[in-house]
């Protein structure tokens, strides 16, 4: 296998893991934050270098040079491919920005050591493709919130039950898949447990109660870091996509689509800012599954673009809400707060990231939404209406929350509540990525398209299907002649030539 120039993958997993161990011994939250910032900063640098190094290789996949685990065990555990390469720095960036934007008021509640531990687990999950290892790292990633809930003396039952069930079903499902080594199409006994496990992990209706509970009872930062990397979607790509028949994926897509609309509706009527965020995130993340499960190059490309867009925009929105909470405590959406005058920077960031999440023109989400809907409509005839409905409801909910938090009255305060430099840097960096990606989307879309094709090729190999038509052939599609109906089912759509 091709090798990166340095062991960036292992470094990006080891640095936060070692940092977590070291920081757990520190008493001072301030010192813990500083060390956590250093560790997550180095981790982020390693992931960026891994991504760039991989890009320079022009290969489909690459592993570490001087791979420690391979040397010890002879097994190549950590691998980067086109799909995971940009996800690694994106996730590392979330952790870095979360640490950077943590104010003194939040330091006592936010566990920096668990944050690093969870970062290590998350990056390890993203850097490996072996199904059992993915399941193991997914399970490890569930542990930090458990300890946090316990330390805050909250009920673990809902979260523990859901995550435990999810991991157990993944193990059962993959075990059953392993029992059918000669079959290209696996039995339902093997596929359905994996599908349900993913639905639970992703918070699809009716398995979504844990998410609201986690946001309500956990610290906002930890909950945010647990959900925004969207590990359920990652499990779909690595575990379900290669082995599941089309109709199973479409079933999951329908479930995701229902969740998107349902959660968007609920986000519109919430009375607490955290629950609003939770449902809004749930709705957005579910849309990704619609594209993932469409199993077409365009739909999958749209889903992968949306993945990055939603990860960044929802983290930006979450960081803004968290910054507000650090100043004003938990915020209700039962009345107007009128915070604009004191925090115009946060108001602008809230509006920008919120609009980016719903795919507003000029943001990264716009082209992702277009691709997603376009691709998904090819597979499900009526899906466009549902996705548009969810997008419309999400847009209404975001602006409603903005108005309730920042306008409608005057908030009296004798002290300055303006956005701090670190917070400003965090949200501006996310805003710059969202707008920059929105104005110049081609490079990003192209790499996501290659990744989508790679995933679909792998799926076809696993299922024993003929390979995808090559891209040069696909270019041949043209506009339909006048008066002719659109592309027939099963055929690639005509090229879009606006």
């Amino acid at each position: 296998m091709n090798q990166l120039h340095l062991p960036f993958l292992e470094l990006s997993i080891l640095i936060p893991a070692i940092g977590a161990l070291l920081i757990s011994g520190l008493k001072s939250p301030n010192a813990a934050r500083k060390w956590c910032l250093v560790c997550s900063g180095f981790t982020f640098a390693c992931t960026v270098l891994a991504w760039q190094d991989f890009g320079l290789l022009h290969m489909n996949e690459a592993s570490d040079r001087w791979d420690l685990i391979a040397t010890l065990t002879g097994y190549q555990l950590f691998v980067v491919d086109e799909f995971s390469a940009p996800l690694l720095p994106a996730v590392a960036l979330l952790y870095f920005l979360m640490t950077l934007a943590t104010l003194k008021t939040k330091m006592q509640r936010f566990s920096f050591s668990w944050s690093l531990a969870s970062e290590s687990a998350r990056l390890a999950t993203l850097a490996c493709r072996d199904p059992w290892a993915v399941i193991a790292f997914l399970a490890l990633g569930c542990i930090p919130p458990l300890f946090e809930l316990k330390s805050r003396q909250r009920q673990l039952r809902i979260y523990g039950l859901h995550m435990g069930l999810s991991i157990a079903l993944l193990v059962i499902g993959w075990f059953l898949v392993g029992l059918e080594p000669d079959q290209k199409l696996h039995s339902l006994w093997a596929i359905v447990p994996i599908m349900i496990a993913i639905a639970i992990r992703s918070g699809m209706v009716p398995f979504h109660l844990w998410m609201g509970d986690l946001f309500e009872h956990g610290s906002f930062g930890s909950a945010l870091l647990f959900v925004t990397p969207m590990m359920g979607a990652y499990a779909t790509v690595r575990l379900l996509l290669p082995v599941a028949p089309d109709w199973v994926l479409r079933g999951l897509g329908v479930l995701a689509m229902s969740t998107a609309v349902y959660a968007a509706g609920l986000s519109m009527i919430q009375h607490e800012a955290r629950r609003f965020f939770c449902y809004s995130f749930l709705s957005h993340s579910s849309m990704i599954f619609v594209g993932l499960d469409a199993v077409t190059p365009i739909g999958l490309t749209g889903a992968l673009c949306m993945w990055l867009s939603i990860m960044l925009s929802m983290t930006g929105l979450g960081l803004t809400l968290r910054a507000l909470e650090a100043r004003f405590g938990r915020l209700s959406l039962d009345r107007y707060h009128g915070l604009y005058e004191h925090t115009p920077g946060l108001a602008m960031c809230f509006a920008l990231t919120g609009l980016a999440s719903v795919g507003f023109p000029g943001t990264l989400g716009f082209i992702g939404t277009e691709l997603l809907i376009d691709g998904a409509v090819e597979t499900y005839a009526s899906v466009g209406v549902m996705l548009l409905l969810a997008t419309a409801l999400n847009g209404i909910a975001i602006v409603r929350a903005y108005f309730l938090l920042f306008t409608g009255s005057r908030y009296a305060s004798s002290v300055s509540l303006k956005i701090g430099i670190r917070e400003r840097f965090a949200v501006l960096l996310l805003a710059a990525l969202l707008i920059g990606g929105g104005l110049f989307p081609q490079p990003g879309v192209l790499t996501r398209h290659h990744a989508a094709r790679q995933l679909l090729e792998h799926r076809r190999v696993m299922l024993g299907l003929p390979p995808l038509p090559d891209e040069a052939h696909e270019h041949g599609g043209g506009a339909e002649p006048a008066g002719q109906p659109g592309p027939v089912e099963g055929q690639e759509p005509a090229a879009r030539q606006e």
Partner: protein, 463 residues
């Protein structure tokens, strides 16, 4: 004539770049929390509008000299992957050129007016930031050569409209009205995007030019079957109804008067309110494919005109009177489009926009004008009932008065039959979820969920 075409292309690009640069000049400092001075902002606005207008007039002159009826501007492929291409394409033609010149003229005039009107207002820079988004949105929408490009501008206009209505955001009422307008715009946006998708999947094209078998606007015939046209046209009609406050969405227009007078003038009196009609004109070949679409357009237009005429009679403040007068005219314009006319509604839009903007900017001094007239005639102005009202029996007069006062019950009907049932379902779901969470956590299930706040500006206040 190659050089003339190239000059027109360059001017066309300038028309597009000017508002975008204004948006950057005002937007980037706002994002970095740096305040530009009023003088800098007003200069930037003046330069952007003047340059844009001059370039648009040059394009018009070039078209008249060369006899070209359509000047396309293609900014290259924005996104291109196999089976999917997205290119920014704009077109200067007989519809877009008058509209873009009108937009630059009126927005420029209002920019100069607002510079004085908003002087030393705390939200001066915020106003002009939203103003620049609106300008960019209007220009993109007017010149859009594809339905996706049009959608991008359409969304920018919607966003700036809603936030400008909520401009005086320290009070609840403007904010609630801004939320209502945003909600209706989102429905309208969704309908337009769905129309775009449908169009793509039926024809493989979103390009207005390629949608026609031959010819440029207003000639040409749509490449759609009647059934396809009914679906696409119906969605576009819904989008236009939301944007232009046609029945049953007319209720948002008077709510929009909460914004500052300059924005009310340019948005709801002159430009934004005509965007729906503009869209119908742009896709008029689609409407022509089916007599049912034409009939629906005429019905919608006439119903809106009637609604505007009736409601306008009972309004007690000048901005509401003017907004209903606008609504009446927009209804008539839409009916004209439904009939199949093309140039008459375009001229109607241009004339109506100019007249109405003048009336709106004069509105704050209306009382002074009335006082001057009354001083001149030495008494109160006579208030007489129209002949139609005098013919009605008293009971009908009372009923009609109430009907008009309640704005034809449109808001009430939408709230009762659309919004409330939907919200009731979601509230019930939320309640059951909380109970299920409590049960799973081993807590006693709560019998009540937090009740919907009476006045929250939330979903209950959508309409």
């Amino acid at each position: 004539m190659g050089w003339l075409m190239m000059a027109m292309q360059i001017c066309g690009v300038v028309v597009l770049v000017a508002p975008m640069l204004l948006l950057c000049v005002l937007g980037i400092p706002a994002l970095l929390d740096r305040q530009l001075s009023e003088r800098q902002i007003s200069w930037a606005v003046l330069v952007a509008n003047s340059v844009g207008l001059a370039a648009a007039v040059c394009v018009l002159a070039g078209m008249l000299l060369s006899g070209e009826r359509s000047v396309p501007i293609e900014l290259g492929t924005w996104v291109g992957i196999p089976n999917y291409h997205f290119a920014w394409k704009f077109v200067f033609d007989r519809l877009s050129v008058p509209f873009v010149i009108l937009s630059f003229s009126l927005i420029g005039v209002i920019g100069a007016f607002a510079d004085q009107y908003m002087h030393r207002e705390p939200g001066y820079s915020r106003f002009f930031m939203l103003y620049s988004i609106f300008l960019a949105g209007m220009i993109v929408t007017s010149l859009a050569g594809t339905i996706e490009t049009l959608f991008s501008g359409w969304e920018l206009v919607g966003l700036s409209s809603a936030f400008l209505v909520a401009f005086f955001h320290e009070r609840e009422s403007p904010v609630r009205n801004g939320q209502v307008i945003w909600s209706i715009y989102r429905v309208s946006d969704a309908a337009l995007l769905l129309a775009a998708l449908t169009l793509h999947h039926q024809t493989g094209e979103g390009d207005f030019g390629k949608l026609m078998v031959s010819g440029t606007w207003p000639d040409g015939e749509a490449r759609l079957t009647e059934a396809q046209a009914i679906l696409v046209g119906g969605l576009i009609l819904l989008a236009a109804a939301g944007k232009s406050a046609l029945v049953p969405f007319s209720g948002w227009l008077p709510r929009a008067m909460e914004g500052p007078t300059p924005s009310s003038a340019v948005f709801y009196g002159a430009l934004s309110v005509h965007l729906g009609a503009f869209l119908l004109l742009r896709v008029s070949p689609v409407l022509e494919r089916s007599w049912m679409l034409g009939a629906a357009t005429i019905t919608l237009g006439l119903a809106t005109a009637l609604c505007g005429a009736v409601c306008g009679r009972v309004q007690t403040d000048i901005k509401s009177v003017l907004c209903y007068a606008s609504l009446t005219q927009v209804g008539i314009i839409v009916a004209e489009i439904g009939i199949g006319w093309r140039y008459i509604p375009l001229i109607h839009i241009l004339g109506h926009a100019c007249l109405r903007i003048l009336q709106f900017v004069r509105a704050p001094s209306l009382l002074q004008d009335y006082r001057a007239i009354e001083n001149a005639i030495g008494g109160s102005l006579p208030s007489t009932m129209g002949w139609f009202a005098r013919m009605l029996p008293t009971s009908s007069q009372h009923w009609l008065y109430r009907f008009a006062l309640e704005r034809c019950y449109l808001d009430g009907l939408l709230a009762r039959f659309v919004v409330s049932p939907v919200l009731a379902v979601f509230h019930a779901c939320d309640r059951y979820e909380r109970q299920a969470t409590a049960w799973l956590n081993g807590r006693p299930p709560t019998t009540t969920s937090p009740s919907p706040a009476p006045i929250t500006g939330g979903a209950e206040e959508l309409l």
